[in-house]
C-alpha cells in the first residue's frame, strides 16, 4: 500500500482509484485520492452553491441582525446506534445549540477526522445522515475539512460542526433569564439518547428497545417563540449531564432555586428499567432531541400547548417551578413525599456494583 497519491494514480498501484473500500492515509494527502474523496462522498451529498465554489473559504451574504455562532465536536462509540448516528448528532447538536439561543440557523460548517481503515460503507451512511438532517432543517453545509489519521489514532470518525444563525432582540433567551415563579417545561421523554448509546455498546449484555431521541429542535423553538415570545426566559438542550446538569446551570446563572416534581418527570419505562439495572439516574443521562424551557407562569400553558402541537413535543410536560428560595440549588420533591437536592455530578456516572 502506498501513501503517495501520484503513485496511487499510476498503472502499478495495487489500490486503483475508486476501488478503495476503506479510508486510506492517502485520502488525507491533498492529492488525487483526497480530491476523489471530497467529490464522490462529500460534495455529492452536501452540494450547494457556497460549497461548490470550492474556495479556501465560503463567501456568504450578510443576513443582517445579530449573529449567533456555536461549535461542537462529536465523539461517540458506537458511531451508529438505534435512532441515529454521529452524523445526525453532529448536525442536530449544533443546530440545537443555536436554537437554544433563540437563533434561526443559517449555515453549518463540518470538519472530519477520519481514522485510516474506516469503512466507506459506514462513512457513507453517516454522510447520508448529515445530508438528510441538514436538508430537513434547510441549513446548508457551506464549508468543511477532512483529515485522515493513522489507524489507532482516532476512534473511527470524529466530526466538528459550527453553526451560524441570526437572533433578534425580542427573542433572545439566555442562561441567566430564569425568574422566581417561572414554569419549568420539558419537551419530551428524558434519558433516551444516553441509554440507547449505552445499550448499543456491545459489552452491556442486555437488550433494550430504547432509541436515541436525536432531533433538530428548531421547529419546537419556533413554536415557543410564536406562543410565548419574550416570556420564554431560558432554553437548554440537556445533552451531556442530562436534565439535572442543565437545570443546575440555569439555576446558578440566574441565581434562583428550582423545585421539581418527581411524579411529573417523563421517564420512559425502558429507560427507568435500564437505569435501575445499572444504578444510574435518568436525570443525568444525555438527551439529543428534547429541550428544557423556563417560561413565565402566565404563558406556560400556551407554551406547553404549542410544544404538544408538534410531533417532537407530544410528551411535553411541566416538571417544576423556579423559586427565590434555596438559590442555586435544584430540589426534587420525591414521589413518596420526601425531598432531595439534585446536584451537579463530579464526573461521569459510574455503574454500581450491586
Amino acid at each position: 500500500m502506498t501513501n503517495d497519491p501520484s503513485l496511487a494514480a499510476g498503472p502499478v498501484c495495487p489500490v486503483p482509484l475508486g476501488s478503495a473500500t476503506h479510508v486510506l492515509l492517502g485520502h488525507g494527502s491533498g492529492g488525487k485520492l483526497s480530491a476523489e474523496l471530497l467529490r464522490e462522498r462529500f460534495l455529492r451529498r452536501f452540494g450547494n452553491p457556497a460549497l461548490a465554489a470550492l474556495g479556501d473559504a465560503a463567501v456568504l451574504d450578510n443576513p443582517g441582525g445579530r449573529l449567533v455562532v456555536s461549535t461542537d465536536t462529536f465523539v461517540v462509540t458506537p458511531l451508529e446506534f438505534p435512532g441515529g448516528d454521529i452524523g445526525t448528532l453532529a448536525v442536530n447538536g449544533t443546530l440545537n445549540d443555536l436554537a437554544m439561543m433563540g437563533a434561526e440557523p443559517c449555515w453549518l460548517t463540518a470538519g472530519f477526522v477520519l481514522e485510516e481503515g474506516l469503512s466507506f460503507t459506514v462513512l457513507d451512511r453517516v454522510l447520508d445522515s448529515m445530508a438528510r438532517a441538514a436538508a430537513a432543517a434547510g441549513v446548508p453545509i457551506v464549508t468543511g475539512d477532512t483529515k485522515v489519521v493513522e489507524r489507532g489514532k482516532a476512534d473511527g470518525l470524529y466530526v466538528n460542526t459550527t453553526g451560524i444563525g441570526t437572533q433578534t432582540e425580542e427573542f433572545s433567551p439566555g442562561p441567566a433569564g430564569a425568574a422566581p415563579g417561572d414554569a419549568i417545561l420539558v419537551s419530551g421523554a428524558i434519558g433516551r439518547h444516553g441509554m440507547a448509546v449505552m445499550a448499543a455498546r456491545e459489552d452491556l449484555g442486555f437488550a433494550t428497545t430504547i432509541t436515541s431521541d436525536t432531533a433538530c429542535l428548531v421547529p419546537l423553538v419556533q413554536r415557543l417563540r410564536a406562543s410565548a415570545g419574550g416570556a420564554v426566559h431560558a432554553l437548554r438542550d440537556p445533552t451531556r449531564g442530562g436534565v439535572a446538569s442543565a437545570l443546575n446551570e440555569l439555576a446558578r446563572a440566574a441565581d434562583v432555586g428550582m423545585v421539581l416534581e418527581e411524579r411529573a418527570l417523563p421517564i420512559p419505562g425502558p429507560v427507568a428499567a435500564a437505569c435501575a439495572v445499572l444504578g444510574l439516574d435518568p436525570l443525568y443521562v444525555a438527551n439529543e432531541g428534547m429541550l428544557v424551557a423556563v417560561v413565565a407562569e402566565e404563558r406556560a400553558e400556551a407554551a406547553l400547548a404549542a410544544l404538544r402541537d408538534h410531533p417532537l413535543g407530544r410528551e411535553a410536560v411541566r416538571i417544576g417551578t423556579v423559586t427565590s428560595e434555596h438559590r442555586r440549588l435544584v430540589e426534587l420533591r420525591t414521589a413518596v413525599g420526601g425531598r432531595r437536592i439534585v446536584d451537579m455530578l463530579p464526573g461521569d456516572q459510574l455503574p454500581r456494583i450491586c
Partner: protein, 369 residues
C-alpha cells in the same frame, strides 16, 4: 412497569408512613444494612417522612466503602503494570487509594476496564493470552456467586493468565460486631434483600434470638424500605425479635442453594479488615487453597503493601452509626465527591456521598407535613 412502578407507588408509601406513625409509641433506632438501601432512603427522603418515630442509622453494607485502603493500593499497584488488564465494577474506579485512584492510573496508561460481569473478565483473559487479566472481586454475598463462577470458569478453561484480587465480606459477622459493640444504639435491622436472595435468612435466626433484635429482610425500592421499617417497628412495639421477610418476591428462607454451593466450592471464611471498622473475625471470603493459582495478591507479590487511613476521615464512626455523615467535621469541606477523603464519599451507595449528593444539610429544614 412490573416490579418497579408498584414499589414506588406514592399512595402505598403514604399508607405505610401512616402505619408507622400509628404504631410507634416511642422513638426507635433502626439500621439498614445495605448501601443500596441507604441510597434509596436518602434519594427519596424516606427517613425525613418518619423522623419523629424512627432514626435510621446507615450500616456498613456498601462494598466500595468497606474495602480497606491497602486493598485499593494493591489494586492500583497491579493495575499500573504494563502487561496487566485490570477489570473492575464501575464504582471502584474513583475510590481513592493512598496516592491515586484507578481513573488516574488509566489516564497514565494503565489498562483499566469496567466490566458488568466478572465473566467478561474471564472472556478478556481467554481472548488475550499474552496479557494478565486481574478482576477486583469485591462485594458481599450478592456478588460472591458470580465472582466464584468466574474463578470456576477460568479453572475449567485452564487459564493461567486470569486472577482475582479478593476483598469479599459477609453480613452476619458485621451485624454481630455492631450489636456487640459497647456503644451500640441499633434496636432493629433491615437486612439486605439481595444478600438474602443468595444466602436465605437461616443465618440471621440465631442472631435475632441471641441479641433480641428484630431483623427484617428488606428490598430496595421506597415501598420496600417503608414496609420493612413498619414491620420492624411492629416487632419492637410488641416485644418480638424475629427474622421476618419483607422481600418475598425474591427471598426464600434457604436462599439460592446452587449459588451457596458455588461460593463454598471456591471461597472459605477468612478474617477481614473493614475500612473504618477494623478486623472482624471470619467476616470475609478468601480463595480456597486449591484455587490459590488465581490469587492476584500472591501472583503479583502484593501482600507487603500496607496503608494508613487519613486521620481526618471519620468513616469508621459513620459506618458504625455513631455519626451522621454531615456531622463529620470535614464533610462537604475537605471531603466531597470530587475530592473524597474516605470511601463513603465515593460510591453513590456510600452514606456520605448519598447525603452530599442529595443535599442533606444544604436544604432549609423540612417543613413537616
Amino acid at each position: 412497569m412490573k416490579y418497579l412502578a408498584e414499589y414506588r407507588d406514592p399512595d402505598l408509601a403514604r399508607g405505610l408512613v401512616t402505619r408507622i406513625k400509628a404504631t410507634a409509641t416511642r422513638h426507635w433506632v433502626l439500621m439498614e444494612v445495605c448501601g443500596g438501601q441507604t441510597h434509596t432512603i436518602v434519594r427519596h427522603g424516606i427517613d425525613e417522612l418518619v423522623a419523629d418515630q424512627v432514626e435510621m442509622i446507615h450500616g456498613p453494607g456498601c462494598p466500595v466503602c468497606v474495602t480497606p485502603l491497602e486493598q485499593i493500593d494493591r489494586a492500583l499497584a497491579v493495575a499500573s503494570r504494563p502487561a496487566v488488564i485490570f477489570t473492575s465494577f464501575g464504582d471502584m474506579l474513583r475510590v481513592p487509594g493512598s496516592r491515586t485512584d484507578l481513573l488516574h492510573v488509566r489516564a497514565q496508561g494503565g489498562d483499566v476496564r469496567v466490566v458488568y460481569s466478572p465473566l467478561d473478565a474471564v472472556e478478556l483473559a481467554r481472548r488475550h493470552p499474552e496479557r494478565e487479566v486481574v478482576f477486583f472481586a469485591v462485594g458481599f454475598e450478592t456478588t460472591a456467586p458470580a465472582n466464584a463462577m468466574a474463578v470456576w470458569r477460568a479453572h475449567q478453561l485452564g487459564l493461567t493468565n486470569f486472577s482475582v484480587l479478593v476483598s469479599h465480606v459477609t453480613v452476619p459477622p458485621a451485624i454481630t460486631a455492631i450489636v456487640e459493640s459497647p456503644d451500640n444504639r441499633v434496636q432493629g435491622f433491615l437486612a439486605a434483600g439481595h444478600v438474602c436472595t443468595v444466602m436465605g435468612w437461616r443465618q440471621y435466626e440465631p442472631l435475632a434470638a441471641r441479641y433480641r433484635v428484630p431483623i427484617v429482610v428488606t428490598g430496595f425500592e421506597p415501598v420496600d424500605i417503608l414496609e420493612g421499617m413498619a414491620m420492624a417497628v411492629s416487632q419492637l412495639e410488641e416485644g418480638r425479635h424475629e427474622v421476618e421477610n419483607q422481600y418475598v418476591r425474591s427471598v426464600r428462607r434457604d436462599g439460592n442453594r446452587l449459588a451457596q454451593e458455588l461460593i463454598t466450592r471456591i471461597f472459605q471464611p477468612v478474617d477481614r479488615q473493614w475500612r473504618g471498622i477494623g478486623m472482624i473475625p471470619a467476616s470475609g471470603l478468601g480463595l480456597r487453597p486449591e484455587f490459590a493459582a488465581f490469587d492476584a495478591e500472591a501472583k503479583f507479590g502484593l501482600t507487603n503493601i500496607r496503608a494508613q487511613e487519613p486521620a481526618a476521615c471519620r468513616a469508621g464512626d459513620v459506618l458504625r452509626g455513631r455519626l451522621k455523615p454531615h456531622e463529620c467535621p470535614v464533610f462537604g469541606r475537605e471531603c466531597t465527591p470530587e475530592h473524597p477523603l474516605g470511601a463513603p464519599m465515593v460510591s453513590s451507595e456510600g452514606a456520605c456521598a448519598a447525603y452530599y449528593n442529595c443535599g442533606r444539610a444544604r436544604l432549609p429544614a423540612a417543613k413537616t407535613a
